[in-house]
Structures are given as C-alpha cells and as structure tokens.
C-alpha cells in the first residue's frame, strides 16, 4: 500500500468506519442467530417442562400434577444417596480428567511431527472413541472376567500364579476398573483435539527460539502452551461435563454396584426415574446438577482466560 492510498483510505475511513460498525453489528448477530434458534427450538421446551414438573408431585404411576412447592428440592438435601452419588462422580472426574489430558498431550506431541504411516496410527488410535460406550463397557466386562477374559490371564502370567481379581465386585478394584475403561475410551478424544491444536502452533516461532538455543521445556511453556491453551481448556471443559454425565460404562460394568459404591449421579437419576418412577424428583435432581455445574463452570472460566 502506497502513502497516497493510505491517505485516501484514512479519510474515507471515517464514514466507512461508521458504516462498517453498523454492518458489523448486523453481521455478528446474523451469523450467530441460526445456531441460537436451533438451540432454543430443541432446548427451551424441555427445560421449562422439567422446571414445572420439578415443582409437582409426578410419578409414573400417580398423576399428581398439583403444585407441591419445594418438597422435591427439600428432599434433595436429605437424600444421602444423592450426595454420595455426587461424590462418586466428583472422584471419577477428578481422576480421569488429568490423566486423559496428560496422556492425550503426550500422544499428540508424539505424532505432531511427520512420520511415515502416521495416518494409519492416528486413525487406529481414534477407534476406542467410536465404539458405542455400552459395547465398550460390556467388552471390558468380558475382558475383566476371571474365567473368560485375557486380563486375568495376563496378570496371572506376570505374577506367576493364578490371580483372581473381581474387577466389578472387589471394592478396591471397582474404581480402577471403571477408570481404566473410561480413560481407554476417551484419551483419544484429547489426543486428536490436541494434535490439531499442536499442528497450528507457529512453526517459525519455534524455529527462531531453537536457533536462540531455547531448551525443550522453555519452548513448551513459552510458545506451545499459550498457543494451545484455548483449545486445551475447552477440551477439558467438554470432557469434564461428559465425565459428570458418565453412565453407559459404569452401567455395563457394575450397574452402580457393589451396593451403591459406584453409583454416579447419572445412574442415580436413572434409577430414580426409570426404576423408582419418581418423575418429579428426577426433574429436581436434574436442575440441581445444572445449577451446580453452571456455578462451577462460571467460576472456572473466570479463573482461566479462554480467549486471550
């Protein structure tokens, strides 16, 4: 751009500037409108419906649609099993998330540079996420089986003597079993997302710092990490929300057992809704979960700048 050009454009810039601001405003609402519309269409009614139902006394067997006030919500606070379920959910989330993140990051770092056959490796490694969670859970139940599963066989071979671990019943092994299955299935999620993020890291910056003699860790913390930070935090957020809703794997492995030891909030909601038929109470639980999660997410977002 020559000096003359920039002079002309600066003068007409004032008018253009005001016009483009208006156009911008129109644009930014226009492009987000369709998405919001779809979300409202599908999402609004269920939310209102659930809210209304949570204030009633509905069960699947008794149609008591009278206003029951806050009884369902009051019941939430006395329900020990509910808070235990929340605790179980918190434990699983707190353990699985960091492990998946770390492992996914390491794997992404491993594959980010070119290597022959990388395409096949990456495609293969994504497979665990594609398997339906119900099938994955049932498959792992079979893998863990003492008589029909290879894991016991392998462990016995390593230990040199027959090993009998009841992964779905032994209180010490129930959570490890669930976590192994969960981490196996969802680390590839982190892996692929972080691979895409790492691919976008500015190569020229990295090369420049290498010439300047920066060590690996310096490069990582000063260049790579800030670059992948937005994607990484969002991936963690998504993963965390999904971990809170974990259901299929645990249902296939332990059905929330033994006793209620591995009962997470989703399983408890299911039991209340489809086994005990407590429709209104289920709605109240759902709202409690939404409120808690919204609070946690808002708090977490304030502390981590997602979009820098």
């Amino acid at each position: 751009m020559t000096a003359v050009d920039s002079g002309i454009s600066r003068r007409s810039h004032g008018l253009n500037h005001r016009l483009s601001l208006a156009a911008d405003r129109q644009f930014k609402y226009l492009i987000i409108a369709p998405a919001i519309l779809v979300l409202l269409l599908i999402g609004l009614f269920p939310l209102i419906y659930s809210l209304v139902v949570s204030f009633q006394g509905l069960t699947m067997t008794e149609e008591d649609t009278s206003f029951a006030g806050f009884t369902n919500y009051a019941r939430l606070f006395h329900d020990l099993r509910l808070w235990q379920a929340l605790a179980h959910t918190a434990i699983i989330t707190a353990v699985a998330l960091p492990l998946e993140l770390l492992l996914g990051l390491l794997m992404a770092q491993l594959f980010v540079d070119r290597m022959p056959g990388r395409q096949i490796f990456v495609a293969l490694l994504v497979l665990p996420t594609v398997i339906s969670p119900i099938v994955a859970g049932a498959n792992w139940a079979l893998l863990f089986d003492v008589r029909f599963g290879p894991i016991t066989q392998i462990l016995s071979f390593i230990a040199g003597q027959p090993v009998t671990i009841l992964w779905t019943l032994n209180p010490y092994f129930v959570y490890p079993g669930i976590l192994i299955c969960e981490i196996w299935q969802w680390t590839p999620f982190m892996f692929l997302l972080l691979l895409a993020a790492l691919s976008n890291v500015d190569q020229s910056q990295l090369e420049a710092s290498e010439i300047d003699g920066a060590s690996y860790w310096r490069k990582f913390f000063k260049i790579v990490l800030p670059a992948i930070w937005p994607v990484m935090t969002i991936a963690c957020l998504i993963r965390a929300l999904d971990l809170v809703r974990i259901f299929d794997i645990i249902w296939a492995l332990t059905q929330g057992g033994p006793g209620t030891m591995s009962e997470t909030i989703s399983i408890y909601t299911y039991v209340q809704g489809f086994s005990d038929f407590e429709t209104s109470y289920t709605a109240a639980i759902a709202f409690l979960v939404i409120v808690l999660l919204t609070a946690i997410v808002t708090f977490a977002l304030k502390r981590m700048e997602i979009v820098r």
């Binding site: 911008d24 369709p34 269920p46 419906y49 491993l110 691919s199 935090t233 759902a286």
Partner: protein
C-alpha cells in the same frame, strides 16, 4: 568439527529419535487397540470360544457367518440410518456452529453469559429431558423421522462445536483477517476464504467427535424412533438379552460400525499436516 560430521550426527540423532517414536507409537497402538482386537475376534468366534476358559485369543476358524446373518436379516440398514443422521447433523452443526463461534470469538457477542448459556446445554443429563422432547416431537410430528433426529443431534452438538471452534479461531492471528478487510473483502468473504481454511485442522478434529457423539447416541434414538429410522446403537442393544448377550452379533455389528469413522479419519488426515497455515502472516 567438519560439516559432514555435524550433519552425520544430526542425521543419526534425528533417526534414533524417529526410531524411538515408532517404538512408542507401536506400544501405544497395541495397548489401545487390544480391546478393539478382542471385540474384533469375538465377531469371528463360536459361542464356545467366546465363553471359554482359558480365553481364546484367536478362533480356530473365522466365522464369517456372524456377519452374513446381519446382512441377511437386514440389520445393517441401521448403519445406513446412523450414517445419514450423524453425517448431515455434523455438517449442519459444523457450519452453524463455526460461524456462531466466529461471532463469539471476534465480536464477543452476548459476552461470557451467552457463551456459558450455550455450554450449559451440555450439562443437562439426557435422561431428564428425553421425555419432554418426546412430547415435543409427537406434537411436531417428528417422531421416527430423519428431520427430527437430525435437528436434535445438531442442537446437541452445537454447544460443543461452538466452544471448540471458538478456541481454534482464537488461535488464528487477527492480522490476516484485518488485512483482508482492508483489501476490501466483505465479512462473509473473510469468514469463508480466510478463517475457515485457517482452522481446517480444528474443524477436522471437531468434526470427528461431533460425528461420534451423534453416532453413539442411544437414549434419544431409542425414544424418538420406531421402525422407520432405527439407528446403530439401538440395533446393537437389541442383542443384549435379558438372560444372555448375543456377543457374536454385538461384536460383528460393532466392527461394522467402526468402519465409517475409521475410513473418514484416515482419508481426512491431510488437514492435520503441520505447517499448513504458517508463513502466511510473515510473508
């Protein structure tokens, strides 16, 4: 030190690093794929081999009959239905979601509150809303229809797409867009010609899992379909009996179900190649 010696040393270091990477890659693949291998093998076993102690690592003969039965009985149509539903909803969600994400990332539309509201859609336990959505769909006449589930999956994946793409877009330096604008491009052109190509890698990664989430949905497909549009997960759960699981069918169907995504991921990987977008800013 002489130049050839330095080059030699660097060559050796790079190749020993490559060899190490290969070793790690193979170890990882073996560990992660072992359960998949097991499932794959089950689809070729006889019932005696599935419930055999000690476990059978490789069946005596490959029972292709397990697969043949799925084709003969017409169960495989479920895979087609799922492909259509997941595919269309993914494209829709990607498009609507990415442009929405652009609005959030560059203009901060609605501030953090809108963004949090969007992601709060993902906090709702599906079990709690499946019944009201069923009622809504009965009223709209969308039960057991393609359009019903396509819109549903789009709606449920939009928050994911919007948030992920917001992050990937944030990665893209604004200078590119600004220079395009100054050059006289309209906002739409900038979005289409500059931004979309820059976030190809992120788009691809997001697309994979948007597809997977729609593909694997069970509870909504179960409630909102009858006979016209049966999806893959619902079909598979038919094989989980009250007294026994028809493992042969479960495994065979699951293997068939992993093929579309596997093919797609292999084919679209060129978007992940490093270095695709760089240099554009400096040059």
């Amino acid at each position: 030190m002489s130049v050839p010696a330095v080059a030699m040393r660097r060559w050796r270091r790079r190749h020993s690093w490559l060899a190490l990477r290969y070793l790690a890659a193979i170890c990882l693949t073996v560990i992660f794929l072992f359960p998949v291998y097991w499932l794959f093998m089950i689809s070729f076993k006889t019932p005696d081999e599935i419930y055999h102690s000690p476990p059978v690592w490789y069946p005596a003969s490959l029972q292709f009959a397990n697969y043949a039965v799925l084709f003969k009985d017409g169960d495989v149509i479920a895979i087609w239905h799922s492909l259509v539903l997941a595919g269309v909803s993914t494209v829709l969600a990607l498009f609507l979601g990415t442009i929405a994400a652009y609005s959030l990332a560059r203009f901060r539309t609605g501030g953090e509150n809108l963004a949090v509201w969007i992601i709060s859609q993902r906090m709702i336990p599906p079990i709690a809303v499946v019944f009201p959505i069923f009622l809504l769909y009965v009223w709209l006449g969308w039960v057991d229809s393609y359009i019903g589930l396509i819109l549903l999956y789009t709606a449920f994946n939009l928050p994911y797409v919007i948030w992920m793409m917001r992050g990937y877009i944030a990665d893209v330096p604004m200078e590119l867009e600004e220079s395009a604008l100054v050059d006289g491009c309209s906002r739409w052109r900038v979005l289409w010609r500059v931004v979309f190509p820059m976030v190809r890698a992120g788009l691809f990664a997001t697309a994979v899992f948007t597809f997977v989430f729609a593909w694997n949905d069970f509870i909504f497909a179960l409630v909102l379909t009858r006979t016209e549009v049966i999806t893959f997960p619902v079909q598979v759960t038919h094989y989980f009996g009250g007294q026994s699981n028809f493992w042969a069918k479960i495994a065979a169907m699951s293997v068939l179900g992993t093929l579309p995504v596997f093919v797609a991921v292999t084919v679209m990987q060129r978007f992940l190649v490093r270095g695709i977008s760089l240099g554009a800013v400096k040059g």
